[in-house]
């Protein structure tokens, strides 16, 4: 097949325009890797380092050993509250939780059958507050068993929990592929929309229309380079993901490639669509933001989609990011089940096709 010279020219021009700017290069290739490193190491849904303090009489050996055990569990760390009132300590943010033992001492109160500990928890973060209570209860039970206050080998309902695909619950395993998806959407959508609106803003778009090139060549020529840039980001990020974070790729690589390509096309398509609506770059940016932000929130990456109201779940069906995040997780962690892959690929392909078709039509109207 003879290579279309116009198209080739377009690709060369767009690529060199984007890549000649060293800051743009950094943004495109270095920033994703840096962010991945940051997010892969730093973010964790695990609850850790809860600052806890105990208020009890200095002579209360039971309470002291409970406190030591709580700190030794690794979930809590000592909070210095001095002589302040327990409520005040939580209020002022010196501690996340404070437990208060009756002044008569834990042992004496247990002997009277009135054993009680009051736990004051800062519930600003509700999920974290619940964990504080759960952990505290668990550590307290262990302590009571060790002290033979409650029997240790009582029969109980033995429910063992196994986390499939990611037994150690490594945060990087699910965050890193997710960050790739988020970055791709940023890169493809914003680059495409701003590149086209810039031509509009500068008035060079009119020159382009007047030039002896076919309409489809303009459209393909303005979008294809960004598809290429987006696709180029995938292996770079995945190399880092696998080498540095040891994120496994248990599924076939072609699923990753094909899924990524379709996703990038959807992103570029939506970006082009935005550029046909927006008059200038600022508008394009705001419109892009309006799309990117909800897309990230409704991707299932950080927030459970199942819990959302039906109407919002419905919106999420139009979110290509949701499908790509699912595919990424399936390919990296679950071995790339073909049913999951195709079931998530076709809606993404449909979104891409619609976005491109619509963008093409709007472009067409403008060009005529």
């Amino acid at each position: 097949m003879k290579l279309n010279l116009t198209l080739w020219g377009f690709i060369k021009k767009e690529l060199s325009q984007t890549l000649r700017d060293p800051r743009m290069r950094t943004m495109l290739f270095v920033a994703p890797v840096m962010q991945m490193t940051l997010f892969g190491y730093a973010l964790s849904t695990e609850v850790r380092n809860l600052r806890l303090a105990g208020v009890y009489q200095p002579s209360d050996a039971y309470a002291r050993s409970l406190e030591t055990r709580l700190y030794a569990s690794g979930l809590f760390k000592p909070a210095k509250i001095g002589d302040s009132d327990p409520y005040q300590a939580v209020y002022s943010g010196k501690a996340d939780a404070v437990f208060v033992v009756p002044p008569e001492g834990l042992k004496a109160s247990m002997a009277r059958g009135q054993g009680q500990i009051q736990l004051l928890v800062d519930a600003t973060n509700s999920t974290r507050a619940q964990s504080v209570e759960n952990y505290f209860n668990a550590v307290m039970n262990d302590q009571l068993k060790d002290l033979k206050i409650i029997p240790a080998d009582q029969p109980h309902l033995a429910l063992s929990v196994r986390m499939l695909y990611n037994p150690a619950m490594e945060t990087s395993y699910f965050m890193v592929p997710g960050v790739l998806a988020m970055l791709l959407v940023l890169v493809t959508m914003t680059l495409t929309s701003s590149s086209i609106t810039r031509e509009k803003e500068m008035g060079t778009f009119e020159t382009l229309i007047a030039a002896p090139v076919e309409k489809w060549e303009i459209i393909v020529g303005k979008t294809l380079p960004y598809v290429l840039i987006g696709v180029a980001d995938i292996p770079i990020v995945m190399l880092f993901a696998t080498q540095i974070f040891h994120v496994p790729i248990r599924g076939p690589l072609w699923q990753l490639g094909l899924g990524g390509l379709v996703f990038v096309c959807a992103g570029v398509g939506i970006g082009t669509l935005i550029s046909t609506v927006a008059k200038n770059q600022q508008q394009a940016m705001m419109a892009g933001f309006l799309v990117v932000f909800p897309a990230q929130m409704l991707s299932g990456l950080m927030y459970p989609l199942e819990n959302m109201p039906k109407s919002i779940v419905w919106i999420s069906y139009f979110n290509p990011l949701k499908y790509f995040v699912t595919i990424m997780r399936s390919v990296t962690l679950k071995g790339g089940d073909p049913v999951v892959f195709w079931m998530n690929l076709w809606p993404m392909a449909l979104i891409a096709a619609f976005a491109i078709l619509f963008a093409f039509r709007r472009f067409h109207q403008r060009l005529n």
Partner: protein, 372 residues
């Protein structure tokens, strides 16, 4: 602010910038409508509570007792249970359910025989948003189910734990999200809008024009930033009203302190926008930079969702340079806890230092740009 009183050139530039924004209804609508839209949208959408969890149950025992156990899970009303067919992992592999419960054979017999009956819960570990919460919730159901199955009276623990959940007694996760989301939206708007509009001025060359006039650089900067400060404060008001009226959040602290905090937060954000614009000089680059520098970090590293305390030490200290991380503390403290200036002295003090730092950096960057 003696330069404002000294002459009105700053105000003239501000007026011009205001007209720029107002003339462009799209920008105006975005700057004011977007925050509210996002707040309402995500205020309703995000919910970390366990609800409508799809669970597959393989009852290998299939006795009265094992069925009773399943009933006690169904009885919570939080799970949608379907009986398992085929391989144990099938439903999880195909992402049809969040978890699979396997009740081992001999469950009922063990229970009657005084042994520990066994069950296994398989969770989708590839989904971080739900797996941990659901597993711990199901784990919490076990003692109650045990008592029910054994037909025992609830045994009284020798020590009763009486927990008081302060400041958010109903453990409503929205109360946690909304004060944080407000900060996020404010910061993003302030930095993004400033970075791109000022970069546009550089790109079009009108900044050089402006600089060649007798207007002093400081006046240009202030004039350019003032409108965006007002826009940011407008967004704060919208968020505040909707948080109170729509989501029923309390506001326990001082409004004046909140206003001071907002200013202390918005100014470094605006200055950061200015710095980005003078580094980037192009709208496209400015847009990318501000998205990368502000959007992702302030969403993920600010404690908005992921608690900064859970981060490794190195990153914990890195988060200290993100203004949003400190203002989130202030915002939550004022909305939920009603903290005063004494309790908030640290975050407010740090924001103040950031003000000095970012404003000076912006001025320096701007001055350096002027010299050939």
């Amino acid at each position: 602010m003696n330069f404002i009183s000294r002459d009105s050139r700053t105000l003239s530039i501000a007026r011009k910038e205001f007209r720029h924004i107002a003339r462009d209804p799209f920008t105006l609508g975005m700057a004011l409508g977007l925050p509210l839209l996002l707040l309402v949208f995500f205020g309703f959408a995000i919910d970390f509570d366990v609800r409508d969890i799809h669970l597959t149950v393989f009852d290998r025992d299939n006795t009265r007792i094992s069925r009773q156990f399943v009933d006690s899970i169904r009885g919570t009303g939080l799970f949608i249970i379907k009986p398992g067919v085929g391989g144990v992992n099938d439903d999880l592999d195909h992402e049809r359910v969040k978890g699979t419960l396997v009740i081992e054979k001999g469950f009922g017999e063990d229970l009657r025989g005084g042994k520990s009956p066994k069950a296994q819960l398989l969770m989708d570990g590839a989904d971080n948003s739900g797996a941990g919460v659901i597993a711990s919730y199901l784990g919490g159901l076990v003692p109650a189910a045990w008592i029910r199955l054994k037909g025992l009276e609830a045994a009284r623990m020798p020590i009763q734990l009486k927990t008081r959940f302060l400041f958010n007694g109903e453990l409503n996760s929205r109360w946690f999200i909304i004060p944080g989301l407000a900060v996020l939206i404010m910061g993003l708007l302030a930095t993004l809008l400033t970075a791109t509009t000022v970069a546009r001025e550089w790109e079009h060359g009108s900044m050089e024009l402006l600089l060649s006039t007798p207007v002093k650089p400081i006046e240009i900067i202030l004039g350019k930033l003032l409108p965006y400060l007002c826009l940011g404060l407008g967004a704060v008001l919208l968020i505040y009203v909707s948080a109170r009226l729509v989501f029923g959040l309390p506001f326990a602290g001082s409004h004046l302190l909140y206003l001071v905090g907002c200013l202390l937060f918005l100014i470094p954000c605006l200055a950061l926008g200015l710095i980005i614009s003078s580094v980037a000089r192009q709208q496209q680059v400015a847009m990318q930079m501000s998205m990368m520098i502000t959007m992702l970090p302030s969403m993920l590293l600010s404690g908005f969702i992921f608690p900064v305390e859970s981060m490794p030490a190195f990153f914990y200290y890195i988060t200290a340079i993100i203004p949003a991380r400190w203002f989130i503390v202030v915002s939550r403290g004022l909305y939920l806890k009603g903290e005063g200036i004494v309790e908030l002295a640290l975050p407010l003090g740090i924001l103040l230092v950031m003000n000095v730092f970012f404003v000076r950096l912006a001025l320096k960057k701007f001055k350096a740009d002027l010299e050939p």
